[in-house]
Symmetry: D2
């Protein structure tokens, strides 16, 4: 694993931080590039790498550098937000502008609108100096707007050059990160001193390596409310079954965490663990057993679960993701058919809280996390780091080369602590099927 | 308007309240049946009634009586909850049991389950003396469960007699109230000393006469969150349109109050005000105008709005209500078709928070209101009032004969303050159409 | 009771509303000054007034008039907020500016800062046209700032004349209303066409006549959280006693409503009901009895309760209110002394959530209420009403001459429904003492 | 660092888990004692340990073992909660009982009340099988009650033996952990097969080694509300200064995180960073500068900050902690004196939300965390681990010998990321003083 972060060049400029918060340039606080956090967490993993521990892969620590690459004076900074909504985007934007302005004295910003689309052609931009940063911190969504899909990196770089941008902060998901990688290649090709620093955003928490993505705690908190509603509804009717569909294309993190937060789900179905619906030991058999015992059930299903029950889908959405087949609809139909066939009256309710989850304001934890990510991103950018993602890795803020994120997806480990917490708490079988 | 409340008989028993809260039986607090609240609020209405003001219709005040009808000793009390969920049901149940137990010394309760179904046949019941009343006050739903639809009053009265019930508290909506009226007729026919006291429950706030139904404030608070989500989503996309469907079969109260709470809706459509969709001055024309100006729009539609655009539906649901045609689906299709036809790209999102709204716990205001309704219901029942609804009328708790509620529906007045607050705030036209 | 509202003059100008929301000038919606809401709610009160019912006192209904007094063109409007904080002030400000701008086309505003102080001398003002009205609706406090105390009406009127103000909206409490009355006298003396319209603000809900003051529901919701904390603390310790001090100088509304919302208080002490501390039947005897039974207790005390236990205080605060003696401190000391004297170990905790209550953002209900008050105030002002308060009276928005509010205080009726709900729920004695 | 965890003996019994969640005994999920997480996170730290990486200290992973020590049949389990309140205690209790019952089939529990006091003498206990575990998960506090202070380990072990307890779960803070260490020594001395497993609880987040203590996120979320209230109050008055005192005896974590969550604090004072009050560069000078610029300020102070400004305190509280001098009172007095001396009128408000913070229910994140801690504790106990603490270490659940926690305190690193996030965000000087 090549954890080397690319630098635009040597850092020769004294950081202006000391003048702003009354400190010295030789303060122990400053981070140097050789401070690194080990990738491996076990002796086995570490020794399996080979004889020389001192070569073990490790991520560069994020944080303020004593010497920086860019002269803050006249520096022009762009920000763009891409992909679906997620709690905390505005907190990141506010954090970036606050930190650039107050710590480094930057004063020129360009807010590109509606994702990469805003970097193509002659689009209107947002003047970030007139925004009430404190106010947007308690607003969901993105004041810059978003869109899905990438744009031609050549055209984007033309825009950056035209606008005189030296630093571009990119807030977006896996598709966006792939776009950022392409962007960096184009910038390198032209040998331009433009830093591209990414803050990964995904409501599914499917970004690899990092501890969790921003907004995730807020998201599963809101998802837990939907499970709670499902529980109340299910228990209030004879034969009540609530089917709560949550986000999670490839990763069941929201489903798992929300279920653990509420502890009232009887079944949690996630993309990482396939399941039989019919037959001996299948989902319907277990559901029937549950109903015969309690006369109600709460089922949480991630949108990407059970795709093995559908013919392969070829359509792609604007982000380039495969469109998912409707597992919620399938389960609803199969459950209704099953209980009709055994003459067991049920009241099935479908609950889909997706938009509520995406659009809420960040909770206190995510507010802190977004701020710290923004601070780390600013320090990285000012030091001339590029093609880099800032993230928390085992509770340390680090720099990760964007390429390392683009070929993997963070998923719930079917043998790991999280999934087993779910199994132990719901009591659902570890395996649906014969 | 005959506001006379029926009494089971003369109240001859001293209330046991004094011994419980250290007061005297002649305390000024006690309410007498001749304390009444005028139905009319204007001089015009009052004088239009005729010459004699002293005969003007007025509602009996609720509250503790010095003399009561039932001997609390050995009294057995039934509670049943019917219809859809609504915030506050458990608070009412807790309030009833608390008040009966602590103020009057009652100790026998039967909790009938799943609505009137629980009063038919030999159904299991809930022992309300083992319930943690403080805990259920912060739980949505109904610990007794609910169901829709009435049952044969003859069979229900048989059950009450079998179980030795002297007081039945009925928590339910308009269908339930009609059932309670039938029940009272049957009880009267048999000349039984059984009091039936109703606490009206409707998430749509469509009960006539009373100020508002319990749980309504909680409900529109939750609905306002959905509008907020819709606003965040709409503004974050190019051409973003959010269509939020809220409850309200015949009454647009939730839609109106939620829209006023959030102040980000551009259009509010309610059952009480019909509207043209197409043509000059129609909804689509105004929506297009709005989009051309701001490039986003938030539309709030009550489920019962725009039924004039559908052929009449004949199907009834279990509560005996006409099934509604899907106005949300119609608008979605028409909006998409319209903007496609003019080549204006939009991103339309449907948001339906119904289950979240029904199942949340009561907020502080509704907790107080439910408690006071329960206290009023208990006082009424102990005084032998029957066929009576307790409710707040112009901020006073009163007794209303159940018949008065059964032939009317509370609706938003298209010339009244509420609807005009909405028009003034959204800026939408008072009239959609030519 | 003279309910006559003063008008600056005849209304001769057509309201511009029709052009803004597509309606006709002869729409049934428009309110006329002869639409009035009866002050009395009982036949007894009404007939006690004398023979002629048509002369019974009644309040003019608020709402849009077809003809208005002021020409919106070039109209200049001032807003000032006075007294302590209360949830909803910013919602009122936003509602005023929104309504003036969007319904009437007004475009000139002066936001006076820090209460009446901002109207004296050459103070900086806030440009209300640059404020993000949607954003401030979710912010507690007042964007204009507040201060206590009145200023010389002569000087204030000089300022209004200097600034060319035609309408002054005053948001404030009882002291502020008295100031507004003086202001109107001075304006009348000079025969100036300046309208002064008040929106009463008091966190204690002590404004007479109106249903309740804005922000009150939000306030007691927050207060209920403190009671809940007190309950949790009290029950978690041996001999736990929590003493929660809530606002309420002369009125115990917050204490009563918060206690009913939480239902875990054992004792509620309010200014309206005096109580013995010592001796037979005194508070300490009942508290001891409670402790011996449950080993914990939750006591809610309004700051103005029990002032009879102190020598009279002569000091006044900046608002001209008598400084209150510290009943919380007295009770704490007396409780500790008592239980020490009987050798009963207790853990007493004092909880004072005042600032949290004052500063939270308005909840959904209060947001609606503030908006409707603001809309009513704007209609009143445009119609040239002056010296008038807008408020909800028995659920109708009405105009009340400011003088009618200035000689009374709204208090909890010791024989009324609210206080008895508290007694019935807590089980505390109706009378502390022999 | 000796990370060896003590076992009561060999694990010879097959875990009953497979029968309960349909899995095999050889499932890859099961954890073995040799799976360990490295203590060090950097190459430098690791190599500094010496030549042999395979001996590097590492913590045993928590999680279900295939073989267990105790036979669940007839096993009797005790639970005790000690020290101050903290969000999540009831979630841990519910999680322990749920997991023991549903995964292992345990059915005998003893809930000791009011901390270690409940284990001394013949105290009443709580029957945990009758508790509504789902209901207590949304209740703050501890259903078992708590108290401070340790008790004689000899007497406690006598109680455990008398009651036939095989596993004791101890939920408590640093004092409690020291008590648990003593308890284990006594158990070892008597050679008893009793496992003591601890879940560390501290609202200050001052437990060393673990990522954070349960309830911490909930706590700083609530603390952030107090800062928000302080900000609203400060900005609403001329010369408004809000002084918010937060918990944190030796550690400023709550103060730091709450300040970052709200981003409206101007100064954050914590125990880890001493500060000058007077003189050149002192706190008052900076505060004055801030006031002259903005005319308001928000100050957050941890209760243990600035103890260097007091003569040493000798008094200990019941937990054996030194009583802290009142830094809030000192700052209030000094600030008032200073601004009086320079004739600058201020309005200073003290806000102390401590009880609100301690007693709230756990948020969704902490609910999950408490559940996972409980599950880990149960697995550890069933495997016969003793004298062990379960905690999350770099996002892995591990077993830590209790001794390792008892000689250290987790503190904010004055050169670390957290403190510098605060400095960068507030803009306060890194050093107060000349």
């Amino acid at each position: 694993m090549d954890t080397t972060v690319r630098n635009l060049g040597e850092c020769r400029i004294d950081t202006p931080m000391p003048g702003r918060i009354h400190m010295n340039l030789d303060h122990k606080r400053f981070v140097t590039d050789d401070m690194k956090i080990l990738v491996d967490e076990t002796i086995e993993a570490l020794t399996a790498r080979g004889a020389n521990v001192s070569d073990a892969p490790a991520f560069e620590r994020a944080g303020a550098r004593a010497k920086i690459f860019f002269d803050p004076h006249d520096l022009k900074v762009g920000i763009v937000t891409c992909g679906g909504l997620c709690p905390g985007i505005n907190n990141v934007i506010a954090g970036l502008v606050d930190e650039m302005t107050n710590l480094y004295g930057v004063s020129h910003y360009v807010g590109y609108q509606y994702g990469y689309q805003g970097l193509v052609g002659n689009q209107p931009t947002v003047d970030l100096t007139t925004i009430d940063l404190q106010a947007i911190r308690s607003q969901g969504g993105s004041i810059l707007g978003t869109s899905r899909g990438n744009q031609d990196p050549v055209v984007i770089v033309d825009t950056l050059v035209r606008d005189g941008i030296s630093i571009l902060f990119v807030i977006g998901g896996d598709g966006t990160m792939r776009g950022a990688e392409a962007l960096c290649l184009e910038i390198t090709k032209r040998n331009l001193p433009i830093a591209v620093v990414c803050i990964p955003k995904t409501i599914d928490n499917d970004v690899p390596l990092i501890d969790h993505s921003f907004g995730f705690q807020t998201a599963f908190t809101e998802a837990a409310r939907a499970i709670s509603a499902g529980y109340v509804e299910a228990t209030a009717s004879r034969g009540g079954i609530s089917l709560i569909k949550l986000m999670g294309r490839y990763s069941g993190f929201i489903a798992c965490f929300a279920a653990l937060a509420e502890t009232s789900a009887d079944f949690v179905l996630i993309p990482e663990v396939s399941f039989e619906i019919d037959g001996k030991g299948g989902f319907l058999e277990h559901l029937e057993e549950r109903m015969r015992e309690h006369d109600y059930a709460v089922i949480v299903v991630a949108e990407g679960a059970g795709q093995e029950h559908f013919a392969e889908v070829k359509d792609l959405d604007a982000s380039g993701n495969k469109k998912l087949a409707d597992i919620g609809g399938l389960l609803r139909d199969r459950i209704q058919a099953h209980f009709k066939s055994i003459n067991y009256p049920i009241t099935l309710r479908n609950i889909d809280p997706s938009y509520a989850i995406r659009s809420v304001e960040a909770n206190s934890y995510d507010s802190v996390y977004c701020l710290q990510l923004a601070q780390s991103a600013v320090h990285a950018a000012m030091a001339g780091k590029t093609g880099v993602v800032v993230g928390q890795f085992r509770r340390r803020f680090v720099h990760i080369p964007v390429e390392l994120l683009n070929h993997e997806t963070n998923q719930v480990n079917p043998n790991g602590d999280l999934w087993w917490s779910v199994l132990e708490n719901t009591g659902q079988p570890a395996h649906f099927g014969a």
